[in-house]
């Protein structure tokens, strides 16, 4: 997979470089800003806030359509109140007699329910307006096309045959006012939206192949998995809460602004200011009032992750698990290091699996401390699928994708047997690989090879070993981290870190996720990892946590990758630094051509320093690996992607400048003309990065015929 991703990075850069941003774009923008500023004067005189009205109009229109159509079908005889999507506190529809009551014999007329492909429940109400003319109202409480917000679709159509109802051009809108992924109405993909009736089964199929059954029929849609508790919801997902439309949110915002305590609680300081969203009041309110869970534990206790939270008014993937009331976790004796909240939380599905709910919250109307927060959507997660990466195997709860499931930790005897077999194979000199868990085939992460697998740096074979548990078992997957010590015949001591995990029913070892920055030491010192370019003509070595990856055969990129310990000090300056060694990087590109590589280091240096995106600070002649080289110190903008081979993947979008040190030298071999080394970091971290990467530069050697 790494070859593919390397190619993607390289070719996508080339494709993106084919764009030709206009040099005079600012003039066009400035002209538009001029008219914007003129309109601001007008807007300041207007009583409404300065906001786009378009989403609101859509929401209001959808809401109006909903009211009209709901009003016209409310007297349908078999409507199941449990299938409506009205918010709990909204008034029931007025039971006025609609002027277009369809005759009971009309085949499609009625309220229909189904389960969407994403697991959410949805309803369709169909009424006959006159003759063969019909109208329908579709509601999806958790619409994927609306990023989880509720959706409404309305349409008018005609009965073509007794079993075929066609709606020429339905219109789908998101209740939160956003534009559906299908685009704004009219959505051509929905043209000729056809329902095919199976009269005998009293069900119909929509164009997406979803089967709809009458609400209240005994053969209804599949109910959600999990433990059903009296009084709790039977839905598996839902949309905005406690308000359900943008119009309602704006009304609630006004009441909150006025100090109404029924709404001021939605001005949540936790969500507005804290980096951890779980303590927000909206979650326990919803969980107790809507899900009916009496006891639950937040994702903070289970080290779960979440998205967003950058102060821009939204969070996603916020997870809570349900606890069986009055019970303790039956596995608590096996997870002595787990938080007390987890040790006291018994699963509700079976002894291992917890009902798990995931939330998204946002501020749909006004962002900042004065804006109210609402649930954008919620979903009960389902049982796990195959993890994609080793990282997901080690920390499944961090991904918030599936029901949280605890794993019975392996016994000491089982772990000891595994580690001893692994270490014995290393002493024997073969067969150790079988005990290691590799990155899954679909993973985009790169496997990290176990260093000194069968011998020390000097080639001495191992004679004995010791193991020591460092952490674990860690809840929920029961993983444990061990320090392994191997002693070689010459007395050299190699120390390494491994995790033991149970995967697909087997115990395996995982290397590369140590809690420390340096996963392998030899006599207490980091073990350098060797690298080479140009078929071995150029060699070098780097100490972890600096790891190199090839972007292509001539570009080797080093990044500092710290260990996983949250409490330990990390040796990496800031996560934005890197060092790139490249053979024959392309000079500054012009137009849509790939110019030939520079003829020598001097020509490349001139090309780089002539680049307007590069600001030269100084040039210094130096010697590297016994060869004359030119050192250029400079500053580059984050978008400096000419000479991209030098600053591979430095492209960022937070618009900061980077310090760069370049070494350029003529390659003494035949495989290339120029070798370049680039060390790049933010200004504040540059000196520290230079200090860390200097040994890598000094390790460079040319090995020619």
């Amino acid at each position: 997979m790494s070859q593919l991703t390397d190619r993607l990075e390289r070719d996508l850069r080339e494709i993106a470089a084919a764009a030709h941003p206009s040099a005079s774009a600012w003039e066009s923008i400035a002209a538009r800003l001029g008219s914007e500023r003129a309109s601001e004067v007008t807007l300041l005189l207007a009583p409404e806030p300065v906001r786009s009205k378009r989403p609101l109009r859509i929401a209001v229109a959808a809401a109006a359509a909903l009211v009209v159509i709901t009003g016209s079908v409310v007297v349908l005889s078999n409507r199941d109140p449990d299938t409506t999507d009205n918010p709990p506190d909204s008034p029931p529809p007025t039971a006025t007699v609609a002027p277009t009551i369809p005759p009971p014999a009309a085949p499609f007329v009625g309220v229909w329910v189904s389960t969407d492909t994403d697991g959410s429940s949805q309803t369709i109400e169909i009424v006959r307006s006159s003759g063969d003319d019909y109208e329908f109202l579709y509601r999806d409480a958790f619409a994927s096309t609306c990023s989880g917000a509720p959706a409404t679709m309305i349409g008018t159509g005609q009965l073509e045959t007794a079993e075929r109802l066609v709606f020429a051009q339905p219109e789908l809108t998101c209740d939160d006012g956003t534009i559906p992924r299908l685009g704004p109405p009219p959505q051509l993909e929905l043209a000729d939206f056809t329902f095919e009736l199976d009269a005998a089964a009293d069900e119909f199929i929509d164009p997406f192949g979803i089967v709809w059954r009458r609400a209240g029929s005994t053969d209804g849609p599949t109910e959600p998995s999990g433990v059903t508790v009296p009084g709790s919801t039977t839905a598996t997902s839902g949309g905005m809460w406690p308000q359900s439309t943008l119009a309602e949110v704006r009304a609630a915002q006004e009441l909150a602004d006025a100090g109404d305590p029924d709404y001021t609680w939605q001005l949540d300081e936790v969500l507005a200011t804290e980096p951890k969203p779980w303590a927000a009041e909206i979650f326990p309110r919803f969980i107790r009032e809507e899900l009916g869970w009496a006891e639950f534990v937040s994702g903070e206790s289970i080290s779960a992750g979440f998205t967003g939270g950058d102060g821009e008014g939204s969070y996603g993937g916020i997870v809570f698990i349900r606890c069986a009331p009055g019970q303790t976790n039956p596995l608590s004796p096996l997870f002595e290091d787990a938080p007390s909240s987890i040790r006291g939380c018994a699963p509700t599905i079976d002894q291992l699996t917890y009902e798990t709910v995931s939330f998204a919250v946002n501020q749909p109307d006004r962002r900042g401390p004065s804006g109210i927060w609402v649930l954008q959507g919620w979903k009960l997660l389902e049982t796990s699928a195959n993890p994609i990466t080793l990282w997901e195997i080690l920390e499944p709860q961090n991904f918030g994708e599936y029901q949280v499931e605890q794993v019975i930790p392996p016994s000491d005897a089982d772990v000891t047997a595994l580690l001893q077999a692994f270490l014995q194979a290393r002493v024997d000199g073969e067969g150790a690989e079988q005990y290691l868990l590799r990155e899954p085939e679909q993973s985009w992460a790169q496997d990290r090879e176990v260093q000194l697998l069968y011998a020390t740096t000097s080639g001495a074979q191992y004679v004995r070993s010791e193991i020591r548990r460092l952490t674990g078992p860690v809840w929920p997957n029961g993983s444990m981290e061990y320090v392994v010590q191997l002693v070689a015949a010459d007395g050299t001591v190699v120390e390494q870190y491994f995790h033991v995990v149970r995967h697909d029913g087997q115990l395996r070892l995982v290397y590369g996720f140590a809690s420390v920055d340096v996963p392998t030491t030899e006599n207490g010192q980091p073990v350098a990892i060797p690298y080479s370019l140009l078929d071995g003509e150029v060699t070098l070595a780097a100490d972890p946590p600096w790891y190199g990856e090839f972007n292509d055969p001539t570009v080797l990129r080093f990044e500092c990758q710290p260990g996983r310990s949250e409490t330990g000090t990390t040796g990496c300056p800031g996560g934005r630094e890197r060092m790139v060694i490249a053979a024959d990087p392309l000079p500054v590109q012009e137009g849509c051509t790939n110019p030939p590589a520079a003829g020598d280091a001097e020509a490349l240096a001139q090309s780089i320093m002539a680049d307007p995106g590069f600001e030269t600070i100084r040039t210094v002649p130096v010697r590297i690996a016994g060869i004359d080289a030119l050192q250029i110190d400079g500053v580059v903008s984050s978008q400096w992607d000419t000479n991209w081979a030098l600053c591979y993947s430095m492209w960022t979008t937070d618009a900061q400048s980077f310090r760069i040190r370049l070494y350029l030298m003529d390659h003494p071999g035949e495989s290339a003309k120029v070798i370049t080394i680039a060390v790049i970091a933010l200004e504040t971290q540059f000196e520290r990065v230079l200090e860390q990467t200097t040994p890598i530069v000094e390790s460079l050697e040319f090995r020619l015929g």
């Binding site: 992607d641 492209w651 979008t653």
Partner: protein, 162 residues
């Protein structure tokens, strides 16, 4: 060389939003157009979207803390909408970028991916964003991003191998 990171790090010499937007433009414009181009495959459309997005940033200048991040999300969101609109009313033709044969081959395969798969792949491997970053930008769960990424990569692997 001018720099601009968070709003608090702006050039203190001016509070004029237009001047600040100008600074943002100078450091972000070209990169954003390239990103939009990689997503859309049309230079004019990419420029239009980035310019519209800068105007949007200007309108919300007093509401947002991180103009760069907001611009990035706006550009990506508008690119996504543009791809959706394109299905109904194609307005901008897909251009054939003037690139090497290997990149051209990749482009051909990329354009055959679904919009979501292509966007996630481009944002991950050109933009360098994490699944969580992309989830925020595309307003979809991180799990969905990873799923799109896995499927997109699987398709690319298969198509490029043939």
């Amino acid at each position: 060389m001018r720099t601009m990171g968070k709003k608090g790090a702006q050039d203190p010499a001016t509070d004029d939003p237009v001047a600040q937007l100008d600074a943002l433009y100078r450091v972000e414009y070209a990169g954003m157009v390239r990103l939009a181009y990689a997503l859309l495959g049309n230079n004019a459309e990419a420029e239009e979207i980035v310019q519209d997005s800068l105007i949007e940033v200007y309108r919300r200048w007093n509401e947002i803390r991180k103009p760069g991040a907001y611009l990035r999300c706006t550009v990506v969101s508008r690119c996504r909408s543009a791809l959706q609109r394109r299905k109904m009313r194609p307005s901008y033709p897909l251009e054939e970028p003037c690139v090497s044969a290997a990149a051209s081959e990749l482009w051909d395969v990329l354009t055959r991916l679904s919009d979501d798969h292509r966007m996630v792949v481009v944002l991950r491997y050109y933009g360098g964003y994490t699944a969580s970053d992309i989830a925020v930008m595309l307003e979809m769960p991180a799990a969905t991003v990873r799923s799109h990424l896995r499927r997109g990569l699987a398709t690319l692997k298969k198509e490029l191998a043939e």
